[in-house]
């Protein structure tokens, strides 16, 4: 099924208009007409070219979901949430898609505060926080240097606060960079055997099913070492995953 999907996605769309906005609009018209294949193909080509927006990923996720590609739909919704973690429509659709997940993780722990903050912050927001706080810190230092003794009393703590915010922004940016090294992925195969090593001759320890989110720790050839949210690790075929 995955191979067919790849072939289907690889098929070239007939002379698409150059303007990405128009192409997205055309795909939307196809979707409303019930042509989910055409719609998904149109939006997918935009994503493959590097275009993105919350709406684009949401629309593509809806089309994939209606076509039955639940794992790929979940991946698309998660891309949308990476751009805007607070989008209620995307959250609701992602929840619906995940409701049919077969895998129920035992021992899934509540992520610590910094990971939750990381999940709810976009990279741009982290960059903006860091940039503003960093600039404010140096500006306040300069003002303090020039100001009278009375003003220095509040400029000092203000500079300290800005420094702390800059550190927080820097930590978020570092977290995002770490996320890029161990990216999140979604299982897109109906069932994917998980082995204890990279060799396919090993007996599968357990199976993952479509829609389950994992973190990719490393890749070797056509297999990848993944970690589940409850800490379980194993090796799965890379083709069974879609990296977000």
């Amino acid at each position: 099924m995955t191979g067919l999907l790849l072939l289907w996605l690889a098929a070239a769309a007939p002379a698409p208009p150059a303007d990405p906005g128009q192409r997205a609009e055309q795909a939307g018209t196809l979707y409303l007409a019930g042509d989910y294949d055409g719609a998904a193909r149109g939006w997918r080509s935009l994503v493959d070219e590097g275009w993105e927006s919350v709406g684009l990923h949401l629309d593509l996720g809806n089309a994939l979901l209606r076509l039955g590609f639940r794992g790929r739909a979940i991946a698309s919704y998660q891309r949308a949430l990476a751009l805007d973690p607070g989008d209620a429509d995307v959250q609701a659709n992602l929840e619906q898609a995940r409701a049919q997940n077969v895998d129920r993780l035992v021992g899934e722990a509540q992520p610590p505060l910094h990971e939750r903050a990381l999940a709810r912050t976009t990279e741009r927001a982290a960059l903006a926080l860091f940039g503003l706080a960093w600039s404010a810190f140096w500006l306040l230092l300069w003002l303090r240097r020039r100001s009278s003794r009375g003003a220095r009393r509040w400029l000092g703590p203000a500079a300290l606060l800005a420094a702390l915010l800059a550190v927080a922004g820097g930590a978020l940016l570092a977290g995002k960079a770490a996320d890029r090294r161990t990216p999140t992925a979604v299982v897109i195969a109906p069932a994917s055997p998980v082995r204890e090593g990279p060799s396919r001759t090993l007996k599968p320890a357990f199976e993952l099913h479509e829609g389950t989110t994992v973190r990719v720790l490393e890749a070797q050839g056509d297999v990848a070492r993944v970690r589940l949210l409850n800490g379980l690790e194993g090796w799965v075929a890379s083709a069974d995953l879609e990296v977000i």
Binding site: W51, R66, L127
Partner: protein, 617 residues
């Protein structure tokens, strides 16, 4: 050194001599001389030695299964009459043996190694009678093998090293068992067998570990109960009060017919053994392992006469119900047909009827979910199968009755369960979306939030990887450094201005005096006198680094004195200023003469050692 410390030191010095004199002996005994085929006989081997011994059970001619083994060690110190002490270590090994056949069975010699010493137990024998026979005859006195290695035990031989043969062997080892109880030993294929794994013990069990259940080959298993903590019940068996600890209770569903065997379970236990020793009343904790006996279960095939569509996994007792998410629907609007089977049996394996293909309705692949609610010792729950149906033709849609056949092991008969017919009114064509687009069939995920305009599209990049992050890092720091540099430059410039004024004060004053000399011949004397005074006061102000025009003569003199001007210079300045006032208001002094007085005052002032701002002189 206190009296207690002296005693301890004396005891420590005496210990090596006692160890050298310690003897080694081996004794073996059976707890009974006659045993039934389904009973256990306990073999005890006691070794007295300074080092921990190892035992090797024979492999040839050994017609017993070892179902349990345990070991313990005790140390005794005997005070001799000659003033010496004797320390003895006794290692006791107990083996629970289950005979494999009837007749007089021999237990061959068991090899024992303790450090350098080697030895073996003498052969023992036990009579095995048919299962079910009463076998309460205790071991005959001669059944206890004599000591080996040729080291006599000395006084008290035949008793344990503690001099109390009953302390080490109460019989609790024999009565401590791991047992598996099943509610049925003959069941139909797919019928539930409830198996409970118990530890039965005459002594308290402190801890369990390393529980190893068998593979349950031929069974589908479901957990019914696994106690989080050990809790005991009291039971009586053969007149003996026992503690019963439940380890787990499982539901077993045979997956093939014929004789099946529930293999042995194994577990390690820590038990609390009471003490008869009045000098050691606290008891002891011993580690033992136990293995349960296999349980045979006969699985009967399902009786003949099953209906054509019967699936062998459908065994149990249940009810079946069908419902629709709505009784009315628009054309193309999805409906959910929900089929629920609820009851006892292997719920997760039940195969519910499939929605048949009907004209005018499109059925999607059904999804199933299970809700498990065990009822006491019975595995129970419900299985729900949901099928999304999309009506494709207007008018009444009839969902026919669905039939499900179940084998009920309680009655031993097949039962056919039927749902009622369901009816849905399908209205006409759904409204077309604006813009003339074709109707959309919300077949999957009907509650999905709709698509939206893609909005402004951007090329994805990695904000942290490109220049913005570096720019954000560097630009504020660079701006800060630039602003600080500008400030410093300005400060330095201002400082330089003050010093420059000090440096060029004399030059400026002389320039003003030159200007005054050009006014000598003028008709009005006031500008001349004003210029001379400006030259003198301005010189003082520049040297002092602050305006001097508003100062009185005394204040000016004081400031100049503090700045390093010597008294002759001050007097010259005062004379020049007085002459200036006199010339301006009284006209007694010629202008040329005033100019000379002012010039001298300037010359005298310039000789002063000024300590002024800027450090110039």
């Amino acid at each position: 050194m206190t009296g207690r410390a002296r005693l301890l030191a004396a005891a420590l010095l005496a210990l090596p001599a006692l160890a050298v004199g310690a003897g080694v002996s081996i004794r073996a005994s059976l707890d009974r001389e006659e045993v039934a085929l389904d009973e256990l006989v306990t073999l005890e081997v006691r070794v007295e030695s300074a080092e921990a011994p190892t035992l090797s059970l024979p492999t040839q001619g050994f017609d017993f299964d070892v179902v349990s083994r345990s070991s313990s060690r005790s140390t005794s110190i005997n005070m001799g009459g000659g003033g010496g002490m004797k320390v003895q270590q006794t290692f006791a090994f107990q083996f629970g043996l289950r005979p494999r056949r009837l007749g007089d069975l021999a237990i061959p010699a068991i090899e024992v190694a303790a450090g350098e010493a080697r030895g073996e137990t003498p052969p023992l024998s036990v009579k095995v009678v048919a299962a079910g026979s009463a076998t309460s005859r205790p071991a005959r006195p001669g059944q206890t093998a004599p000591p080996a290695f040729g080291f006599p035990l000395g006084p008290g031989a035949g008793a344990t090293p503690n001099g109390n043969s009953s302390r080490a062997w109460h019989g609790w080892e024999r009565d401590l068992q791991l047992t598996v109880e099943v509610d049925k030993t003959e069941v139909f294929l797919g019928e539930q067998v409830t198996a409970s794994v118990w530890v039965l013990s005459p002594v308290g069990v402190a801890e369990t570990g390393n529980f190893k259940p068998p593979a349950y080959d031929g069974f589908w298993t479901e957990q019914l109960e696994v106690p989080r903590e050990l809790s005991q019940q009291l039971r009586k068996r053969d007149g003996l009060q026992l503690r019963a600890y439940l380890l787990q209770r499982i539901a077993l569903f045979p997956t093939r017919s014929g004789p099946l065997e529930l293999g042995s379970h194994a577990i390690d236990l820590l038990v609390r053994v009471s003490s008869d020793d009045p000098f050691y009343p606290f008891g002891d904790v011993q580690r033992v392992s136990r293995r349960s006996q296999p349980v045979s279960i006969t699985v009967k095939p399902l009786p003949a006469g099953a209906p054509a569509r019967f699936d062998a996994v459908n065994v149990g007792s249940a009810t079946l119900a069908a419902s629709l998410s709505s009784k009315r629907a628009a054309l193309g609007e999805p409906l959910t047909l929900r089929l629920v089977a609820e009851g006892e049996g292997n719920v997760k394996a039940w195969s519910l009827p499939v929605f048949p293909s009907l004209p005018g309705v499109r059925a999607f692949t059904p999804t199933s979910s299970d809700q498990l609610k065990p009822r006491g010792l019975r595995f129970a729950g419900s299985r729900t199968v949901e099928t999304v149906l999309v009506p494709e033709a207007p008018g009444p849609l009839m969902i026919p009755a669905l039939t499900w056949t179940l084998f009920d092991p309680k009655t031993g008969a097949y039962r056919e369960l039927k749902t009622g017919e369901l009816r849905v009114e399908v209205a006409g064509a759904p409204p077309r979306p604006a813009g003339g687009a074709a109707p959309v069939l919300n077949t999957l995920f009907p509650g999905l939030r709709p698509i939206r305009p893609a909005g402004p599209l951007t090329r994805d990049g990695e904000p942290g990887a490109g220049w913005p992050l570096w720019a954000l890092l560097i630009v504020p720091v660079a701006l800060f450094l630039l602003l600080v540099s500008v400030d410093r430059f300005k400060e330095r410039h201002l400082a330089d201005g003050g010093a420059r004024r000090v440096r060029v004060a004399g030059k400026v004053a002389r320039r003003r005096l030159a200007t005054a000399s050009r006014l000598l011949g003028g008709p009005d004397a006031a500008p001349f006198f004003a210029e001379v005074e400006r030259a003198l006061i301005g010189y003082c102000g520049d040297k002092l680094g602050r305006p001097a025009a508003g100062l009185t003569r005394d204040e000016l003199a004081l400031a100049l004195t503090e700045a390093g001007a010597h008294p002759p210079a001050l007097r010259a300045l005062a004379a020049a200023l007085d002459a200036c006032d006199a010339g301006r208001f009284g006209g007694q002094l010629a202008r040329q003469e005033l100019l000379e007085v002012a010039g001298r005052a300037m010359a005298t002032l310039e000789e002063a050692h000024w300590q002024l701002r800027g450090g110039g002189a």
